[in-house]
Symmetry: none
Subunit: 413 residues, 2 copies
């Protein structure tokens, strides 16, 4: 089964509202084995709405429409439904009672607009809206289904998950879809592809998408199968094959972040960490403390922006800074060793670099970052060169630093 | 002129990625007077891509396509362009040089994928991508324009605003739309509306949207006029009327963040700041250091997560923590005074609170945050209670802390 998702509203076309509805619907349909093959957004314009209804209904088993169902003049979806399915509006007593009850609870008087909300297309089955006044609609013809839901995300998601998914789910036979996302960092998309080798042999008909960002490349596996068991088996096999080739770059699955993974590793090993940041400016500490329970392993962080603070808070000798510059292997190792010692932590992690846009030189350009690591066995430092862009450099450096901890703890660096 | 926005990528159809590109493009086109009339999303499927190109190019003056431009097998947009415009790929020497320079700077060897990135459709004009390897494309025919940009939002927005908008803007005549966004914090939407009073008198036919988020409420003014001068005049008048009613809650306009505003205020006044964070975990330092030139006024930050670090790094007496608890007015003021003194800064800013989800009590629930401020005249502390949600509490506390600095510097607190 395939689906076309239609979202209606001028506010989407002018970019005032970001379209989260279509992503939500696409995700939930995928989870029950229905492929969204197209998403279309049009404004509050009856001709555009009718044209889109016609195109979608011609090619898709399932059409989901959101928006334009309210009581005001710009809400034209019901008119579109009536014209498209050649039907008229009738008052629905259940909807009318529900609207009246909602309005009474909010101490609002009965109005024409309220009366209007109870009018539904004659051929439609009502989908109840527990939290709002605009009812949803379903029109089914020859095994195909046309749904209409309000555009308010809070109302839409409740109705979609509560009524549409339970209706569609039993109708989907055979085709099961499974996705799995493997998160990598420290390797560009093209190198990842190269390491994977012949992609067709690897995938055996499944799909693999590469989704790059500053945090690294996500690899998303998509498998179609006849049963949930087959789908799980296939996705597991492909994951294992990918891991056998690029294991050390994969830090997590699905929405896992590096700070979650590193936090778990520190907890299990009963280790503590302290962080000394210059160019990342607090971002590493912020990410580590985003994880609930971080206080068990995160002792302290220092954002040592000035040279004086590097000396006072971390014990970096002024001579060392004078000799090598604040952005150097020597200083970043001294920072990592210093914060580890001051905090009496098991691990010290440090960054220093040039986030720009000013302050770069030929020898030390914008984007140059040193990352230092210290533990009981001593210290080491890695040199990175990122592109331009202050926030992007901070993001990439923080990601590299957390990944350095991950790799040291796994003994793959 | 009207436009059709096409976004390509399986990740959008399965809802893994929320489509922010189309909203951004729709908004920016609207700002120069081009109406987006339709947005279509299709997957990495050549037939769907070609079908959509054809439909869009038949009915729109401007087509903007994003996504599917990378070097891997699932990136099929260039193939679509070649087939649709019946052309072939040629290596572009400028793009090739740019890709080579980017890869050299990142210490990456030259690969086939890199070579491939330099291949562009013969009929296209290249739109430079300053920060990535995938070039953008423009194909113009009889006063109509077809643009192709990469899907990575960071790359896309830079290229769209830097190249596409300046190209299209002079071609648009007549109806002018102006938006202005006023950013507020520290006041809920309903109170803001109350302070504004009779909205119709205020707006005189313009539109005002309230867009709430954890950082505060954005108020967006939309004005339609016949000329740019009329539009500017109208939007300025409405802004002035709004400011006359809720001035102290407005910290900035458009995309300005509080850290930009506070940074500018500190620079102008030649003041320095140091930050001591407990519950915000480095987020305030991270935000302050996101601003280019922050090293001029940001001396250091301390993420004092453990009680020992509060004492060692900030000089907070252990007795004080024992008597009042780490989350208290007394401790947050001692932290602000301590970091100010240790850093020899003009201003000390501190946070302590319970970010949860565990660690709350009846007396000190999750969401309780104390924010402390110290300057030459002494110290003060404000108590906040936010809702649940660890990252949301961190975000709201960081926002309140930066706003506290803004208000003190403006002497409106």
């Amino acid at each position: 089964m395939n689906a076309h998702i239609i979202t209606i509203g001028d506010e989407l076309l002018i970019g005032q509202v970001i379209n989260t509805n279509q992503a939500h619907i696409g995700e939930r349909l995928g989870a029950i084995g229905i492929d969204a093959v197209e998403m279309t957004t049009v404004g509050d314009d009856i001709d555009a709405v009718l044209r889109t209804f016609e195109r979608a209904w011609k090619t898709s088993d399932v059409v989901v429409v959101t928006g334009g169902l309210g009581p005001t003049h710009d809400d034209i979806t019901r008119e579109g439904i009536c014209r498209f399915f050649q039907t008229d509006l009738v008052s629905d007593p259940d909807v009318r009672r529900h609207v009246a009850a909602l309005m009474a609870r909010r101490n609002l008087p009965w109005t024409e607009a309220a009366e209007n909300q109870a009018m539904v297309p004659r051929v439609a089955v009502v989908i109840p809206n527990p939290v709002g006044t605009a009812p949803g609609l379903r029109i089914s013809r020859e095994g195909r289904h046309f749904f209409v839901l309000p555009g308010v995300p809070y109302e839409m998601t409740g109705m979609f998950n509560g009524s549409v998914v339970p209706f569609l789910s039993p109708l989907v036979q055979g085709a099961v879809i499974r996705h799995r996302t493997l998160r990598t960092t420290g390797i560009p998309e093209s190198f990842l592809a190269q390491h994977l080798g012949d992609i067709d042999t690897l995938l055996e008909g499944a799909k693999l998408a590469f989704l790059p960002s500053a945090a690294g490349v996500r690899m998303r596996i998509t498998v179609h199968a006849d049963s949930p068991a087959d789908a799980d088996r296939a996705v597991n096999e492909i994951e294992a094959r990918i891991r056998s080739k690029v294991s050390k770059y994969i830090f997590g699955v699905e929405d896992e972040e590096l700070e979650d993974v590193v936090g778990r590793m520190l907890s299990v090993r009963k280790l503590t960490i302290a962080v000394a940041e210059s160019c990342t400016g607090g971002l590493i500490a912020h990410r580590i403390t985003n994880v609930s329970g971080a206080s068990a392993y995160f002792e302290r962080g220092v954002v040592a922006y000035s040279n004086a603070s590097k000396t006072e808070l971390l014990g970096v000798p002024p001579d060392l800074i004078a000799a090598h510059g604040a952005v150097s292997k020597e200083v970043v190792e001294a920072m990592a060793l210093g914060v580890r010692q001051m905090a009496r932590a098991d691990i010290g992690l440090a960054t220093t670099g040039i986030a720009g846009p000013t302050g770069g030189s030929a020898e030390k350009p914008v984007g140059l970052v040193w990352i230092g690591f210290a533990d009981a066995s001593g210290s080491l430092a890695l040199r990175f060169t990122y592109g331009e862009g202050r926030t992007r450099i901070k993001e990439r450096a923080a990601q590299s630093a957390l990944d350095l901890v991950r790799r040291r703890l796994m003994e793959i660096l």
